[in-house]
């Protein structure tokens, strides 16, 4: 395997992205990215939460509970973005056969699933005071749930193979199939709720104060930073796990 990887890299020698396609080269870089992002995530979260909880005004209709939005919305966004990123790396891995791409999508999946859970969880907690129930079968909410299922399926499939390489490619394929299906599912679900339910409840319709917007923006960047850091951390663990025994790794962790 090592040799074929080498060969494919030689073909593209000199291009920087091929250099970093090798786990050996990327391992230290991932470490740097991870550290920077942890710091960013901490700083931005502190600032965001401060602005969100102490600067932004109390909402006219919802009172204080609305402040969940600063966690809820970034988490919901990240759940979607990460799926796309995961599918992208899975596709790259399938086409180019680079080990690192598969590891990248494996590293992203748990973070994405966690983001989906956080969005569901905070949404549910928010729903109780505002709608009087933890859960409604609204299009957006339901699609988040399905997105969570897709993450779970991806991870379960990857874990179902004794042969890691096979698991890589199998789960990559299912990630791509899911990526084609996500928009279809999203619109079907949307259609479904408008079909059956003259829904009166809709998340957030009031126009937002500027400070709220700022807080949300900052928190969104904080979530980005957290997700990148978490993914890089997991990626490094994976590299260590999978490349254990290779010479460069012994060198690197010595």
């Amino acid at each position: 395997m090592a040799r074929t990887e080498q060969q494919s890299n030689d073909k593209f020698a000199g291009r920087w992205f091929w250099r970093y396609a090798s786990p050996a080269a990327f391992y230290p870089l991932a470490g740097k990215i991870e550290n920077v992002c942890w710091v960013l995530a901490c700083l931005l979260t502190l600032v965001g939460l401060y602005v969100g909880f102490f600067v932004a005004p109390t909402d006219a209709t919802q009172g204080e509970v609305y402040r969940v939005i600063f966690i809820h919305v970034p988490a919901a966004w990240m759940a979607m973005v990460i799926y796309l990123a995961m599918a992208f790396w899975a596709g790259t891995g399938l086409v180019l056969g680079t080990r690192l791409s598969f590891m990248m999508s494996h590293a992203l999946a748990p973070t994405g699933a966690i983001m989906a859970v956080v969005a569901l969880w905070t949404g549910a907690l928010w729903g109780r005071p505002t709608w009087g129930t933890y859960w409604v079968w609204d299009a957006r909410i339901t699609s988040t749930l399905i997105l969570f299922f897709l993450y779970v399926g991806y991870m379960a499939l990857a874990a179902a193979f004794d042969d890691k390489k096979k698991g890589d490619r199998a789960s990559a394929l299912i990630a791509l199939v899911g990526a084609i299906n996500v928009p279809i599912i999203y619109f079907s679900v949307k259609w479904w709720t408008t079909l059956h339910q003259g829904s009166s409840v809709r998340p957030g319709s009031s126009s937002m104060a500027t400070t709220m917007l700022w807080a949300m923006l900052i928190m969104t960047f904080a979530f980005w930073a957290y997700c990148v850091a978490a993914a890089m951390h997991r990626l490094r663990t994976q590299i260590i796990e999978r490349e254990s025994g290779s010479a460069w790794l012994r060198e690197a962790v010595k």
């Binding site: 399905i146 379960a156 193979f161 394929l173």
Partner: protein
């Protein structure tokens, strides 16, 4: 030896197996029947309540039943080695897979299509709704089998069986479920179901175009 003949041989064998092992198509029907008849016990037997849930129960039951038949597609063949014959054929794998799915759709799909409207009458649904249910089950089963073939192909060399298949397949079939049950619901409420049927058809065609290729790729991955 032309592609037609090879695909024909695959199709024929599938049909032989159907004829030989009657349980392959009889059991899904009985499973379907049982799922449909469990709900009244758990929900209560008032006919108004049953009418409301009838369409949903029948549709979900049909999908679950088709899904549980998915391991038939490749598992036995992988175990006894005949899958390798198919992989080694010089004809395009996707076409051979399509031949198998077609055979399974004909056998299982027909059985479920006949059973669905009968069960609809148990749930006190009107004739028109029962007819529409038959039509949408007839479209939904092949769609599920096509999508499911990808999962079945991936899982030939993995552990997890029926349940992991469900985890992979069911979320992807939600559109079929929505439009299939939606069409019957429309009829139930006296509205025209054309849009739902069109969308369900579109989804089936899309699956027909993409899934065999994806399943072929999946099979190559998992038997590598």
């Amino acid at each position: 030896m032309s592609l037609r003949t090879v695909a024909g041989a695959v199709f024929r064998r599938e049909m032989q197996l159907f004829a030989r092992r009657k349980s392959d198509w009889a059991n899904p029907i009985v499973f379907f029947l049982i799922v449909c008849s469990l709900f009244p016990f758990a929900v209560g037997s008032e006919s108004e309540k049953l009418k409301l849930i009838g369409i949903g129960v029948i549709f979900v039951g049909a999908l679950l039943s088709a899904m549980l038949s998915l391991p038939r597609l490749f598992d036995d063949d992988a175990r006894d080695g005949s899958l390798e014959l198919m992989l080694a054929s010089s004809e395009p794998l996707a076409v051979l897979i399509l031949a198998r799915i077609t055979a399974l759709s004909l056998g299982l799909g027909a059985a479920l299509t006949i059973a669905a409207p009968v069960f609809a009458l148990f749930y006190a649904l009107p004739f028109a709704v029962a007819g529409m249910l038959a039509l949408s089950v007839a479209m939904a089963v092949p769609t599920l089998l096509l999508i499911g073939a990808i999962a079945a192909a991936l899982l030939v060399s993995a552990r997890g069986g029926a349940i992991l298949t469900a985890v992979l397949v069911l979320p992807l079939t939600i559109p079929t479920l929505i439009f299939g049950a939606g069409a019957a619901l429309k009829v139930f409420y006296g509205e025209p179901p054309a849009a739902e049927l069109a969308l369900q058809g579109a989804f089936l065609l899309l699956a027909l175009a993409l899934c065999p290729l994806a399943a072929a790729a999946a099979l190559k991955i998992s038997t590598d």
